[in-house]
Amino acid sequence: MTEILETEAEANTRRRAQVRNSLSRRNRAEQRFKLLGLGSVLAAMAFVAVLFGNILTNGLPAFWQYNVDAEVYFDPEVINVPDVPVHQAGQSEADFQAEMLGWQRRLAMVNWNRILVASVEGALAEAGADTEIDARSAQSIIDSGARFVLRDMVLADPAIIGERREMQLLLSADGDNWAKGKLSRDLPDDRQQLSRPARDAIDRLEEAGIVHRAFAWHIFTNVDSRSSPASAGLAGAFVGSFYMMLVVILLAVPIGVSSAIYLEEFAPKNPFTDLIEVNINNLAAVPSIVFGLLGAAVFINIFHLPLSAPVVGGLVLTLMTLPTVIIATRSALRAVPPSLRQAALGIGASKTQMVFHHVLPVTYPGILTASILGVAQALGETAPLLLIGMNAFVANVPATPMDQSAALPVQIYLWQGNENRNFFEERTFAAIIVLLALMIVLNALAIWLRGRLERKA
């Protein structure tokens, strides 16, 4: 008897030891898995950090560009135009308009560069620099867009002719590069983009504090420009993308949510609806460029909608976003507990009342998040826009969605392909920062709205 008891005690001890052994093995496996997971998270975060670090270090300098503080003399000898026409008594409206146009044409033909050159010379004199500068070099320092700024000032107020104004003139792309130290000072003259007098002038002016950095608001207010890259901006692309988002929100969200509600709540389950479901899932995986081809074939070739127009871009992006919205909305609807549906039906609610009074309110957070993420995805989409002509150079802010326009992601694509790499690389990153900031704002909005609606529910 005692023998058996002893064996039982021994067996217990052995079992405990076995369990302990296996326990330490299990703990080790758990530890390994945890470390692996932590490692992947850290690796992913490191990638994101590198990405953002790279984008920010490359792009942020573009938001501060060099300017010359110069006195601009609106020299009447250079701006050799007659007085602004006034509407004479007895003159017909058409005649007056023709006269006005003629005046404006005269104004456009003024040699504004001479005024700019004089301003640069003045600034150099102010800096006390003894360097002589030829007109060509002086002209190459200032962004050529300044000509239009001066012209517009005279157009707005012709009385300015003969007066002097303190102005901040934007440095040209080459001048900005030189001032930022992006052009090597060791290169021989024949390989420099700016002439020696121009480079010297910038250096002198910077020493005197006349050339200095300022925040480049024009990145947000100007449209794209090829002739004066230093003043190229994102306004057109921004408005174009805004119109496209508007089209996507107005079409993809209502159509997507309604089809999801119909398919999930009302449609009979039969082979036909199964086919629709399979197709929707497949559409979500179709490469976006194919949607661009479809848009070119249908919206432009058949419906003759204008090329490069945000309305077409919006329609194409709508097609692309629809499957995402439908799938996400359906899964949100499916997640509603059946007890809630039973409660509504049991009390005598009709199916429509059940859906709209009880099921939808609890799915709003999910539907909303899905919609915003879908829209954000559409905002960043580039490939389909290339096929409907949105990669055209458009230097206009579109007044309506039917006008030709640029789009933010396409603007990035165009700028990164610009031949003036030295200047536009920075600019491209700046545009990426703007796009990413928009995305982050949209995502934050989704998270905030979700939290708000969930608290309410």
Binding site: S339, A343, A349
Partner: protein, 277 residues
Amino acid sequence: MNATSDTSPMGANRIVPSAPASSAGAESRISARDVTVHYGEKQAIFGVSMDVPEKSVTAFIGPSGCGKSTFLRCFNRMNDTIEGCRVGGEITIDGEDIHDPALDVVELRARVGMVFQKPNPFPKSIYDNIAYGPRIHGLVKSKAETDALVESSLKKAGLWKEVSDRLDQPGTGLSGGQQQRLCIARTIATGPEVILMDEPCSALDPIATSIVEDLIHELREQYTIIIVTHSMQQAARVSQKTAFFHLGKLIEYGETEQIFVNPKEKQTEAYITGRIG
């Protein structure tokens, strides 16, 4: 919620079309004839016929999967909502066939309310939980009427004292037993003639269960109640008539006392003595 309605639940009685005045307790208004239910290929109910007496509690008992809940759901056509479920036979309420195409299922469910196994209040305020049904059925016109109806319904469900000061708070924040009574109050608010209860106490603790049972006892005076229960003690405590189901068939149906004291069928006896189920 004003003081006048506090003292007169008449407000609700005026609005709610409650059961007709006839007080003949044993009169049968609900009758099922040869009811069958199929889930796809599988038959769940085999030709069940019974008459349910008015203003009394009828309990359905039987082992799990015997079809008692399925049969219960025939009375307000909740089976319609289940994919692939077909109901045959005839069920009449006041002589009206509930499967008559002319009868809207919404109207039927306003007359035949249902309380579910798991308390399922709407994720809305307590007030809106009660007011929702009457609103969609157009039973209330003004805010005052709604207030009165909410109050009288909560009083009938014995919940008024506990929640009268927090009607604007979510119904999902109540305890399990309170939630179930809220669901009963919600059902009462639409003025049903029949209340179906599908294991209403299975998710509740013994104290909450006894409160709900007392409530069922009181409601019997106004409503025809059919209750599905797993607990034979509960059936014995609350019901006047009991039906025993087994494998989709109605085995025995009679006075509760007779079923439990002197069952006629062998299977019934086996079940109530714990040998099957």
